[in-house]
C-alpha cells in the first residue's frame, strides 16, 4: 500500500476533535466545577471549596431518594420489557400474513420521542379530558398510582425494542435443532428451555444491558409528565441533577452529582465491556 502513514490519523482527526472538544474537555471542566462554589449567576467567578459539593450531595436525602427510585424503576421496567419482548417475538415468529405491516405498527411507539409520549399521556391521563381517567374513574397521576403508571408507560414504549432484538435472535436458532428435538420427543416447553433460551442468551443480555442503561438515565418522559412529582416521588437521578443545575442554579453541586452518577455507571459499564471483549475474542 502506498498510503502515507499519517493519512489514517488525519481521517480520524475530525471525529476525535469533536469528541475531545464537546465531550472529554467538558467532562474535565465538570471535574473542575465540582470542586468549586459556582452558581448560574456567578458562573465566571468560581470559588474553590474542596469536596464540599460532594459532601452536600451525599448528605442530601433527595439524592438518595432519587437513586432508590431510579434503581427500582430500572429493574422493574427492564425485566417486564424483556418478558413482554420475548413473548411478542415468539408470537410473531410464525407465518403471519401482512407481518411487515404489523411489525411497523409494533415498532412505532419506540420511534416516537419519549418527550412526545409524555405529552400524549398528559392528555390521556388528564382528569377532565383524558379518556383513561374517565373509564377508570380516577386520576393515575396521584401519589398512589403514579409509580406504576410511569412504569407501564415506559414498558409500553420500550417493549418493542426488546421485541426487535429478540425477534432477530429467534431467526438465528437453526431449525434442525427443533426438528431433532421433536424426533427425540421433546415438547414445546422443553424446546423453549433447552434450545431457544441458551441460543438467544447473548441477545437477552444485550436487551438487559441497553434497556437497563437507558432506563437508568430516564429523563424525558417523566419530566414532561410529572416533572418528578407529586412531591419528589418520580424524581429520577437525571431529573434531580437537572433541577439542581437549572432550578436551584447550583452548578458546582450538580456537577459533583453528575460525576457521582458516572461513578455508579462505570461499574455495569466495565462489566459490560469486559463481557463484550470476551465474547468477541
Amino acid at each position: 500500500m502506498i498510503t502515507k502513514k499519517s493519512t489514517k490519523y488525519y481521517l480520524i482527526l475530525p471525529l476525535f476533535a469533536i469528541f475531545f472538544g464537546l465531550m472529554i474537555f467538558p467532562t474535565v471542566f465538570g471535574w473542575y466545577l465540582s470542586f468549586n462554589e459556582v452558581f448560574l449567576s456567578t458562573f465566571n467567578k468560581p470559588i474553590f471549596n474542596g469536596i464540599e459539593n460532594y459532601i452536600n450531595v451525599l448528605s442530601d436525602r433527595m439524592f438518595a431518594k432519587s437513586l432508590i427510585f431510579t434503581f427500582r424503576f430500572t429493574i422493574i421496567t427492564t425485566l417486564i420489557e424483556l418478558i413482554i419482548g420475548l413473548g411478542l417475538a415468539i408470537l410473531f415468529n410464525r407465518k403471519i400474513q401482512g407481518k411487515r405491516f404489523f411489525i411497523s405498527f409494533l415498532l412505532l411507539p419506540m420511534m416516537v420521542a419519549p418527550a412526545l409520549i409524555g405529552v400524549m399521556y398528559r392528555l390521556i391521563l388528564n382528569e377532565f379530558v383524558g379518556p383513561v381517567s374517565y373509564y377508570l374513574g380516577k386520576s393515575l397521576l396521584v401519589s398512589q398510582y403514579v409509580i406504576p403508571t410511569v412504569i407501564i408507560i415506559d414498558v409500553l414504549q420500550w417493549s418493542p425494542f426488546a421485541f426487535l432484538i429478540l425477534y432477530a435472535a429467534l431467526q438465528t436458532v437453526p431449525k434442525e435443532h427443533y426438528e431433532a428435538a421433536s424426533i427425540e420427543g421433546a415438547g414445546g416447553t422443553q424446546k423453549f428451555w433447552y434450545i431457544t433460551l441458551p441460543q438467544i442468551r447473548p441477545f437477552i443480555i444485550i436487551v438487559l444491558l441497553i434497556r437497563g442503561i437507558d432506563s437508568f438515565k430516564t429523563f424525558d418522559m417523566i419530566n414532561v409528565l410529572t416533572s418528578g412529582g407529586p412531591g419528589s416521588m418520580t424524581t429520577t437521578v437525571s431529573i434531580y441533577i437537572y433541577k439542581l443545575a437549572f432550578q436551584s442554579a447550583n452548578i458546582g453541586k450538580s456537577a459533583a452529582a453528575s460525576l457521582l452518577l458516572l461513578l455508579i455507571f462505570s461499574l455495569p459499564l466495565t462489566l459490560a465491556l469486559r463481557k463484550i471483549y470476551r465474547e468477541r475474542s
Binding site: 475530525p14 469528541f19 464537546l22 409494533l106 424525558d220
Partner: protein, 278 residues
C-alpha cells in the same frame, strides 16, 4: 372439515390478539390523533366521544394563527436533524474507513466508542452549558447540531465500520496502484458501495435527533426550540390548548411515520446491526 375449521378459528384468534396488542401499544398515538380532529366541545365531552365529525381547525391554528410558534419549532427540528445527519456522516465515514482498514488506534476501537456512548449526557451537558454561555452559543441551532453530532457519532461509526469491512479490499487496490488519494478512494469507491449503510445510519441519526429533548431543553430557550420541547409549551400555567397540542404532536410524528413505513428495512438493519455488534 373439523380440522380446517379449528385452524381457521386459531388464525382468527391470532389476528385478534395481534390487533389488540398493537392497539394497546399505540393507544397514546391513536388517542392524540383523534383529539387533534375534535372540536373543543367534543374534546371535553364526557363520556369520551369515539365517533365525531372531524375538523381541521386545530391544525390551522397551530400552523397559521397568530401567537403560535409551532411552524418555527418544526422548521428548527428539520434543519437541526438534517444538518446533524449530514455532519455525522461527513465525520464518521472517513473515520470508519480508517478504522476498518488500518485500525490506527490499536485494540478494539469499538469498545472505546461504545463506552463513550454509554456516558450519561448530564456529565458533560452542564459544563457545556457554561462553556456555550462563554462562547455565546446558547439558543443557536449550531449548538444543538454540534451536540447531537457528538451523541450520534458513535452509533454511526459502529454501523459504518461494519459496512466498510464487508467491502473486499481488492476493489480499492486497483485505484491505489493508480495512486489515487485516500479521500478520492473514499469518495469514488467506498461511498457508492456503502450507500445503503450510510442511508441507514443517516435515518437513525435523523430520528434520534428529531426525538432529542434533554439537551434541547437545556440549550434552547427561544430561537432554536425544536418540536419536542415546543410541544410541551402548549401546557401553560393558565390553560392547556388540548386540541392544538394534539395537532402539534401529530405533525411532529409525521417524519417518524414516513421513516418507519418506507424505510423499515434500514431501521431494522441499523437497530439490529448496532445491537448485535454491541
Amino acid at each position: 372439515m373439523h380440522k380446517r375449521f379449528r385452524r381457521r378459528l386459531s388464525s382468527i384468534l391470532l389476528y385478534t390478539i395481534i390487533i389488540i396488542i398493537l392497539f394497546a401499544f399505540n393507544f397514546p398515538i391513536i388517542s392524540s390523533v383523534l383529539t387533534s380532529l375534535k372540536t373543543n366541545a367534543d374534546i371535553s365531552s364526557s363520556p369520551p366521544k369515539w365517533i365525531f365529525k372531524p375538523i381541521l381547525t386545530h391544525y390551522r391554528n397551530v400552523l397559521y394563527a397568530y401567537g403560535y410558534d409551532f411552524k418555527k419549532f418544526f422548521l428548527n427540528s428539520i434543519i437541526i436533524s438534517l444538518a446533524t445527519s449530514l455532519l455525522v456522516i461527513i465525520i464518521t465515514l472517513p473515520a470508519a474507513y480508517s478504522i476498518a482498514r488500518f485500525n490506527p488506534l490499536g485494540g478494539n476501537p469499538l469498545v472505546m466508542v461504545l463506552s463513550l456512548r454509554l456516558v450519561p449526557i448530564l456529565v458533560f451537558i452542564i459544563p457545556i452549558f457554561i462553556l456555550f454561555k462563554y462562547l455565546s452559543l446558547l439558543d443557536t441551532k449550531l449548538s444543538l447540531i454540534l451536540m447531537n453530532t457528538v451523541i450520534n457519532a458513535p452509533l454511526s461509526l459502529l454501523l459504518l465500520v461494519g459496512f466498510v469491512q464487508d467491502i473486499p479490499k481488492s476493489i480499492e487496490e486497483a485505484a491505489r496502484i493508480d495512486s489515487a488519494s485516500t479521500l478520492a478512494i473514499i469518495w469514488h469507491i467506498i461511498l457508492p458501495l456503502v450507500f445503503p449503510g450510510i442511508a441507514a445510519a443517516a435515518c437513525l441519526v435523523f430520528i434520534f435527533t428529531w426525538n432529542e429533548y434533554f439537551m434541547s431543553l437545556i440549550l434552547s430557550f427561544q430561537k432554536s426550540i425544536p418540536v419536542t420541547v415546543g410541544s410541551a409549551l402548549f401546557i401553560t400555567a393558565w390553560e392547556v390548548k388540548w386540541g392544538e397540542m394534539a395537532a402539534a404532536i401529530t405533525l411532529s410524528i409525521i417524519p417518524v411515520l414516513i421513516f418507519i413505513f418506507f424505510l423499515q428495512k434500514y431501521l431494522v438493519l441499523a437497530f439490529t446491526a448496532g445491537a448485535v455488534k454491541e
